[in-house]
Symmetry: none
Subunit: 407 residues, 2 copies
């Protein structure tokens, strides 16, 4: 590594992009963002289709694309990221799932698919280590009602359906093979048996007896979804030559970081929620810059506000990011790039295919005329309209970790 | 060919793109370019990623892309272009190399990998026609210390490493197979034996004795690199229907032109260097327009100035191109397109992945609001951000040599 090479911070505000809503403005346009605007003014701006125009990215596939990994080639299924983010060990061929503690009645009707948003380490431990046929099942409770599950055994497949149907009032779904095959049939069979056993064990568990006595919903079943199949991929270091660190609160993003070979930085108070400690994240990022060439900083709450349709909340979260995070990060010698993984417009409360604004500032950048960081101003910037897969190659070229083709 | 079809000049200023440097301007922004600006004002402008965003093109792969040939599919290796540019005959399966006359001491330590930048036809002739095993080796001295080498024989491969390690003070490297295979082992063996024989023959050659007596560096070894494997590709005429001519000084670009079926126009004083005769190139291009529908005009020195980190030199070269070339070319009935094969920022003295400006002027072009030809102004032009592979299809469509898909 030559000393001429530079470092970079990549700040991803989840679901930041939006559509004109209150007073014809997006939350980002309406928010007070003097620091982001200063980065825009000193940098080069543009719009970015994280996957491709009009295609709505999931947060998982979006982050693969943002780091230069074509999701159509490298996506292992969501469960893999959840398990890695929960610091579970994965071997080639393991099948991993996201899972929810849920509340069902005795006819398997779903009362609350999140069990009052409360999990329990003790309940998780009661299921951890179960064996069904030759398959050993590991389980960890991550945040609230959420868990990650890993199945290890011969001949398993990720091509099985979700058990969690996302519908309250329905009955617990059956896991089905998504294609004809012995591995798919076996995996579905193991999943269904595991879900059945989870009810058997959890429903009568003392923790749930106590919850019932307090008038709380029991976490009496585990619903699996998002099967993924673990396979090692070339790391960011192997592909681009730099070492990367991940400063994130939510487990999915830690999982993506780990999958791509980043070092996970633990940050006190980084919760992946609206109350997350942004000052601590800023400190952690600046500290990481001493050791790592790329520091990925992720903030989740902008997306959550979008899903909640909360214009005011999203606007205030953006202002907090500006004041507590960007103000601290923007004046290092490192390049800084600010963008989003997708839009989550408050008007539709879901991810959308609208492109996201992107800005890069630092040594040698072709400074354009854009003076505001938002979805509309970005359109006239010097980057024009790029794709998510282009972001890291562009940043790496600026940093001096370039990929040359030809002579 | 219908008489409604038009012709076009494609002017490629090598390595023209740059980053803001002196006074926050790129050399192109700082240069006096009234003629390029007039083309911008009358034309449609944009940015172009010659390969793809952030990917740093070599000059060879870049030119394939600029002519609509995907380099990941059509790139034969640099040596092929050097040999074609040196007007050497190539047959299917021949392996071609770039080579340098170099100076080594008697322990094979490299004193000067360019032998004082001086070659010799007589020394080249002393090696031309050597036979090693069943392989016949041809050699030609092109410019200064540079040569092209062609090996013809059974079962040869381009997958061998460079002998020229680009490092002064080291010893001459060994050519190694880049994959396990009989052809690769054989080719590496032939290359190593040829390099050994080149020293044996050149070191004691009278031309070098004289050089030593004059206190000059002997050109006493030949270092090979950039192996390429010749294979015929469909010509521009076969793909687009027009005849193309190439007006270039440096052999690489002549080689690319020949590879794609262009006619090479010989221009007095076109050297591929800063002293190249641009007026003669302009005359040659205008003359070629009478016979050919696409005239490719290449100027090398902008790239060389970038590699030298010479802001002032690059700026002045741009102004010369404007005054001596563009002023003469811009007012024909033909379309004119001006662009670069890649950026070579003076601040980093290497190729970079920054996109290049591109402008097209002529009948029916959608004239935009851009009034200056430079890397920043182009971003707001009517072409937005295109790729190198798009350039010829867009130009061909304007010219009337379009490719239609569907009915």
């Amino acid at each position: 590594m030559s000393s001429e090479r530079g470092a970079a911070i990549l700040l991803v505000c989840d679901g930041l992009g939006d559509r004109p809503t209150v007073g014809g403005k997006t939350p980002l346009q309406a928010a007070d963002t003097p620091n982001m605007d200063a980065v825009s003014e000193e940098g080069i701006n543009g719009l970015m289709d994280v996957i491709s125009p009009g295609i709505v990215p999931g947060s998982d596939t979006a982050h693969l694309a943002l780091f230069g990994y074509d999701p159509y080639r490298y996506y292992p299924g969501r469960g893999v990221f959840e398990a890695l983010g929960a610091d579970m060990e994965l071997h080639q061929g393991d099948i991993a799932f996201r899972a929810n503690f849920a509340t069902v009645d005795d006819s398997m009707r779903i009362i609350d698919r999140r069990a009052g948003r409360r999990g329990s380490k003790e309940l998780a431990d009661a299921l951890d280590g179960l064996e069904i046929e030759d398959v050993r099942i590991s389980l960890r409770n991550t945040t609230e009602h959420r868990c990650a599950v890993v199945m290890r055994g011969d001949n398993l497949s990720r091509l099985v359906s979700d058990v969690d149907t996302h519908v309250e009032g329905g009955t617990v779904g059956k896991c089905r093979p998504l294609k004809e095959g012995e591995a798919e049939r076996k995996t579905a069979r193991i999943v269904n048996e595991f879900v059945r056993r989870s009810y058997e064990i959890l429903n009568k568990h003392p923790v749930n007896e106590e919850r019932r006595q307090r008038g709380e919903l029991p976490a009496n079943i585990l619903l699996l979804r998002g099967a993924g199949s673990y396979k090692e991929v070339p790391s960011l270091h192997a592909r681009f030559g730099f070492n990367a660190a991940c400063v994130a609160g939510a487990s999915l993003y830690k999982g993506v970081g780990k999958y791509l070979g980043m070092t996970l930085i633990t940050v006190e108070g980084a919760t992946g929620k609206g109350d997350t400690n942004l000052a601590n994240k800023a400190e952690a990022a600046l500290h990481a810059l001493k050791t790592y060439q790329l520091v990925f900083v992720h903030v989740k709450a902008t997306d959550s506000m979008g899903h909640d349709g909360n214009f005011q909340g999203k606007k205030e979260m953006v202002a907090r990011i500006d004041k507590e995070l960007v103000a601290r990060l923007k004046d290092t010698d490192a390049y800084i790039a600010i963008t989003a993984d997708h839009s989550t417009p408050v008007s539709i409360k879901r991810h959308s295919g609208d492109p996201v604004p992107v800005v890069m500032k630092g040594e040698g950048v072709r400074r354009d005329e854009v003076k505001r960081f938002d979805e509309l101003s970005a359109a006239s910037g010097g980057l024009c309209r790029i794709r998510g897969l282009d972001l890291i190659p562009i940043l790496a070229d600026l940093m001096g970790y370039y990929v040359m083709y030809g002579t």
